[in-house]
Symmetry: C2
Amino acid sequence: MALGRPRAFDIDTALNRALEVFWSKGFDGASLTDLTEAMGISRPSLYAAFGNKEDLFRKALDRYKTEKMAYINEALAAPTARTLAERLLFGAATMLTDPSHPVGCLSVKGAMTCKDDSLIAREELDQLRCSFETAIIERLTRAIADGDLPPDSNPLVLQRFLGTVAMGMSLQASQGATAADLMAVARMALTAWPALR
Amino acid sequence: MALGRPRAFDIDTALNRALEVFWSKGFDGASLTDLTEAMGISRPSLYAAFGNKEDLFRKALDRYKTEKMAYINEALAAPTARTLAERLLFGAATMLTDPSHPVGCLSVKGAMTCKDDSLIAREELDQLRCSFETAIIERLTRAIADGDLPPDSNPLVLQRFLGTVAMGMSLQASQGATAADLMAVARMALTAWPALR
DNA sequence: ACACTTATGTACCGTTTGGTATGAATGTAG
DNA sequence: CTACATTCATACCAAACGGTACATAAGTGT
């Protein structure tokens, strides 16, 4: 049986290029022309290999999640709640300013730059964020049970604080803040973390 | 001398409608059709009264700055650095979730949803943010001189912390956080504020 | 009543958007 | 060498984008 003409580009590196474009321009800001030029392929090749623009974004987001948000899972595996908070904020500070890729956070940029209509990608983003949030909340409630946090702590508030600082750091990075700048913010934010005494 | 045909719409309420559209959809996300429909006027009327889309955005941003970011100036007038931080974060929490207008911050949304090319509005946004930042930094350095903050405090770090939390709260609001949610975050953030001892 | 100035409604401009039809090119299996 | 399956490049599509030309309508000053 014939297998057909082999594709002339590496589907994996092409997806990486697409990820970079979405990352720096957002979903709506990234045009098909932007994408195909960065990926080095033609429009029909893109559609044959990845579906449509939304599908491509989803696949890029998937790669982003597993490769660039790994620090969140590492934070979730921390032995104590305090270490979780440290790994989360310091990890965000380094990742958001890593010069090897666009600054800021794709999920933040993506959520802001997509029209309300006709965007299933938005659900994907909400779901991604939501899953991390609940994981952190569960980890923090377990920390209270372990005597790892004061019994009167509120896991929802603690999580929302961490999320707020992390998202804020994403915007700061987009506006030119350096890794050192964000580290200082992270250190100060950790000052607010409840002590066991 | 003839004065010409009077315009059939109130230029002030029309600008308010435009502000709401830009606020909820961003700069690129707000199409001319979106704007004219919300403003209840035709395209030529819009261009005759406001210039072009960028000019309209600038005027809407101007109104936003004077009306909706007033709490920042009130915070700058606070007697102590601590009160400044409180007014800033609590003010942001209430403003960002005020049900009488779109949630979140126009300057955050605007900065995220504009293409790099052909956007002088971006400069306007950067300049606006920058002016508030330097004002806060100057106020905080004065606070150190006044003995209002510990002498080893770093005004740049303190400002960046406040800005990070405020911007993070804007994103939280966009994702559905309530005023109470943001108030809790603000209270926790203020825990990190340096005490005089 | 007239001239003049400005606003309005319609209909249009060129460009860019996401997405495709189509035929030639390129590989493998028989 | 031939048949087949798939990708490739070109050229195109309808729709939406920001912006405008043009004729008409609606006022005011003389």
